[in-house]
């Protein structure tokens, strides 16, 4: 491209942009249309992103969850007391203070709690844990109150569960089954799945919910490498008393995200794609009327020696700039309204409630802007070509 062409492009683009205020109404159509597409796309994907992030950030690679062979989720798993004892005693499991194994046999039951301000019951996971659970999950911090005492009907509640569901403040009492429990603390685990849960002493929970076995055993590996895991798996395989499936925690929790995050992502892209088509028609309209109103002006430029290419490029640039503005507005709206907003939903994989936050990440915003530019380009190209193609003599005869 010669510097002459470049100069022409700059000149025409500047003229176009300076005349924008006179075409405020039509230009607004591009901006609003694209802002709508980007806003919806970014906010829906932020929901999928937040959900995925919550599950992906759960667990550490150095820890394993052990379920009954054939079960993919805790709810359908069952590990009896003897098996749990055997598993904790395996040499591949790390030892903590006083040589006690870093393994926690846990039971999970669903309890019904209404969301704040509602009355319909939701399946909130209630986890009975052994003492080692706190040493294993060292990401856990109590942010309010204290830990539950052993042998007493006391619970600590995840921060997100406390936000979403009614009656989970420190000091309040909750009634499940024929038992009353006191909330004694609120904990955080860095925003992962456990924050949607209620924790209690496993033994107490077992008797209150009349269970005879656990659902899973979570343990820290003595040796977190592949070899360490393989050693654990081999010992379990060799023991005829154990029919157990071992998974690294991140692997297990990533599986739980499957169905729901796919559903949200598909929904987001489908809706945004349709909206994008609509916005493209709007952009085409807007750019056609923009060049129609400047027909004489463009023809004059052509008559005094400006080339066709600079006209095409300048119209495109205008469309892209408007699109970019729309994309930025849409992204900003999504950020302001959605980022950090919490909600909870039923995870189909676990049949229990998961609370998570919308996450508007830079990558999502970039994707939104890319969509905006694409729509701008699609809407600007045809009008740009028409502007350049119109014979000067015809265009001037208005």
């Amino acid at each position: 491209m010669t510097s002459r062409t470049l100069h022409q492009i700059t000149q025409i683009t500047l003229i176009n942009l300076r005349s924008l205020p006179q075409r405020l109404g039509t230009s607004l159509v591009i901006v609003v249309g694209i802002a709508g597409v980007v806003g919806v796309l970014v906010s829906v994907l932020a929901m999928a992103e937040g959900f995925q992030h919550t599950l992906a950030s759960t667990g550490r690679p150095g820890r394993v969850i052990m379920l009954r062979a054939g079960s993919d989720a805790e709810l359908s798993s069952g590990v009896d007391r003897d098996q749990a004892t055997l598993l904790a005693a395996l040499p591949a499991v790390a030892r903590g203070d006083g040589g006690r194994p870093l393994a926690s046999a846990e039971l999970v039951v669903m309890v019904d709690l209404p969301r704040k301000g509602e009355s319909h019951p939701n399946n909130v996971p209630f986890r009975g844990v052994q003492t080692a659970a706190f040493a294993i999950r060292d990401e856990l911090r109590l942010v309010e109150g204290r830990a539950f005492r052993r042998g007493v009907r006391e619970v600590v509640v995840g921060r997100k569960a406390a936000q979403q569901f009614a009656g989970l403040e420190v000091g309040s009492r909750i009634a499940f089954r024929d038992s009353d429990w006191t909330v004694v603390g609120i904990f955080t685990t860095g925003g992962d799945v456990h924050e949607s849960e209620i924790w209690a002493d496993a033994e107490v929970a077992m008797s209150a919910f009349r269970r005879t076995g656990y659902q899973s055993v979570t343990a820290t590996l003595a040796d977190g490498s592949e070899a360490g895991l393989a050693a654990l798996v081999t010992t379990i395989k060799r023991d005829p008393r154990l029919s157990i499936n071992v998974l690294r925690e991140p692997e297990y929790y990533a599986k739980q995200a499957g169905v729901l995050s796919r559903l949200i992502t598909v929904l987001g892209y489908t809706v945004a794609a349709f909206m994008a088509v609509g916005a493209t028609f709007g952009a085409l309209n807007c750019m056609y009327s923009a060049i129609a109103s400047r027909q004489v002006e463009i023809a004059t430029l052509r008559a005094i020696g400006f080339g066709g290419a600079p006209v095409v490029v300048s119209v495109l640039i205008e469309a892209l700039l408007l699109a970019l503005l729309g994309g930025a507005v849409g992204g900003a709206l999504a950020y302001v309204y959605c980022d950090g907003a919490s909600l909870s939903t039923l995870n189909f994989n676990t049949f229990s409630q998961v609370a998570f936050d919308f996450r508007v990440t830079p990558a999502l915003l970039a994707r939104g802007l890319a969509w905006a530019l694409l729509i701008g380009a699609a809407g600007g190209l045809l009008p740009a070509i028409r502007a350049a193609r119109l014979p000067v003599t015809v265009a001037l005869r208005v």
Binding site: V40, G78, V109, F274, G278, N285, S289, L346, N349
Partner: protein, 387 residues
């Protein structure tokens, strides 16, 4: 009607502009139709629910089992016409967890609870007689290409057989379906005969997941529910009974406020359409000021000119709404074909059509009124002079 050619000519005075605007409107209503269908699908459980059906589950958590002995007790409650038990099998098919729900049921009793399900009488008979029998919903049969008479291998994530294996095999003896599309989603299940299942499972024998009861008078639903729960109060297996609709609504609520999400997206869509169409209408009237002045000169009253401009907006929106909704109605069967049983069937209801019509009218008024009023205020001399 005699003004239709005039309206048409006015609309398509600038073909490209009108066609593009129309297409945006079509897309907006297409989205409206589809998103409403998604919302309906989530709530269709509630619509398909029969007011004469009650569900009884364990009081504290729906995943706790109940003794099968409850059946005889519920059956004797006055007002109850029939009861069936059902248990969750926790199926894994072709290595996919919960690919579809599988319920272990007493064939005759369970099918009696759902008179809206259609099944060939001979197949129903076969299901009741075959201890290892199973029937599947039509949409599942289509999706997996099953044939009646074949073996159906299913793994359970919950129930081991007495030999410790989690792999089960059933005989597919029939297909269930439903006429009403709202009900069809409920047939996306595999029902297995509980007779063989209960005998062959290692744990949980004599227990079941929940009960379905039919009552004679839906007005008695509340009273009968209370009576059933009273019978088991203070026993180790307390129950919670509610009309099916309440369960369905509760389940939709668990997923979250789908309606709110859909509404927010649609607000974004229609706000855009408002700006877009509003701009087009304003532009079009601005360009035609001399023409409108001529109409007035010819004797058209102010009111008539206003009505003409307004009618143009209504025509444009109406056309777009009809095309968009028709496109949605035409597209949804294809969508259903590809999701086949993974997702409840999507369809456009009469209510969605009515809502679309109301929405079209509303948008038409919003975008048509300002230019229409401008046309009304037009003074012939000024307009013709180009002032």
């Amino acid at each position: 009607m005699r003004y239709l050619p005039l309206l048409w000519a006015g609309l398509f005075r600038r073909k490209t502009r009108t066609v593009l605007t129309l297409l945006s409107i079509v897309v907006a209503f297409l989205l409206f139709g589809m998103l409403q269908a998604v919302q309906t699908a989530f709530e269709s459980g509630a619509d398909a629910a029969d007011a004469k059906r009650l569900l009884t589950t364990a009081r504290y958590s729906i995943i706790e089992p109940l003794p099968m002995a409850h059946l005889k007790v519920i059956e004797r409650v006055p007002g109850v016409v029939g009861v069936a038990s059902a248990d969750w099998f926790g199926a894994k098919y072709q290595n996919e967890s919960n690919a579809f729900p599988v319920f272990a049921v007493d064939p005759a009793r369970y099918l009696d609870m759902y008179p809206e399900f259609t099944i060939d009488p001979a197949q129903r008979e076969a299901f009741a007689k075959t201890r290892t029998g199973a029937v599947a919903g039509q949409r599942l049969v289509d999706r997996y290409g099953w044939r009646v008479g074949q073996k159906l291998p299913l793994a359970s994530e919950i129930h081991a057989r007495t030999d410790g294996s989690l792999n089960w095999e059933f005989d597919l003896v029939g297909v269930i379906d439903a006429e009403d599309p709202a009900v069809r989603g409920n047939t996306d299940v595999v029902l297995i005969n509980v007779a063989h299942f209960d005998e062959a499972r290692q744990l949980g024998r004599g227990k079941t997941g929940w009960y379905v009861a039919r009552i004679a008078d839906s007005g008695q639903a509340k009273a009968i529910s209370t009576e059933i729960d009273r019978l088991f109060a203070n026993s180790p297996d307390e129950t919670k009974t509610a009309p099916e609709k309440e369960f369905a609504v509760g389940f939709a609520k668990q997923i979250g406020d789908i309606g709110a999400v859909v509404t927010r997206i649609l607000i974004a869509v229609f706000f855009t359409i408002l700006i877009l169409t509003g701009n087009t209408m304003a532009q079009s009237v601005r360009e035609r000021i001399p023409e409108l002045a001529i109409l007035k000169t010819l004797g058209f009253s102010d009111a008539r000119v206003t009505a003409l401009v307004l009618a143009e907006a209504v025509l444009l929106l109406g056309l777009g709404a009809v095309l968009g909704m028709a496109a949605a109605a035409a597209l949804l069967p294809a969508v259903n074909g590809s999701t086949g049983g993974r997702f409840p069937p999507l369809f456009v209801t009469d209510i969605t059509w009515i809502l679309a019509a109301a929405l079209a009218l509303l948008v038409a008024l919003a975008v048509g009124l300002p230019p229409a009023l401008r046309a009304r205020r037009l003074r012939i001399v000024d307009a013709l002079a180009g002032r």
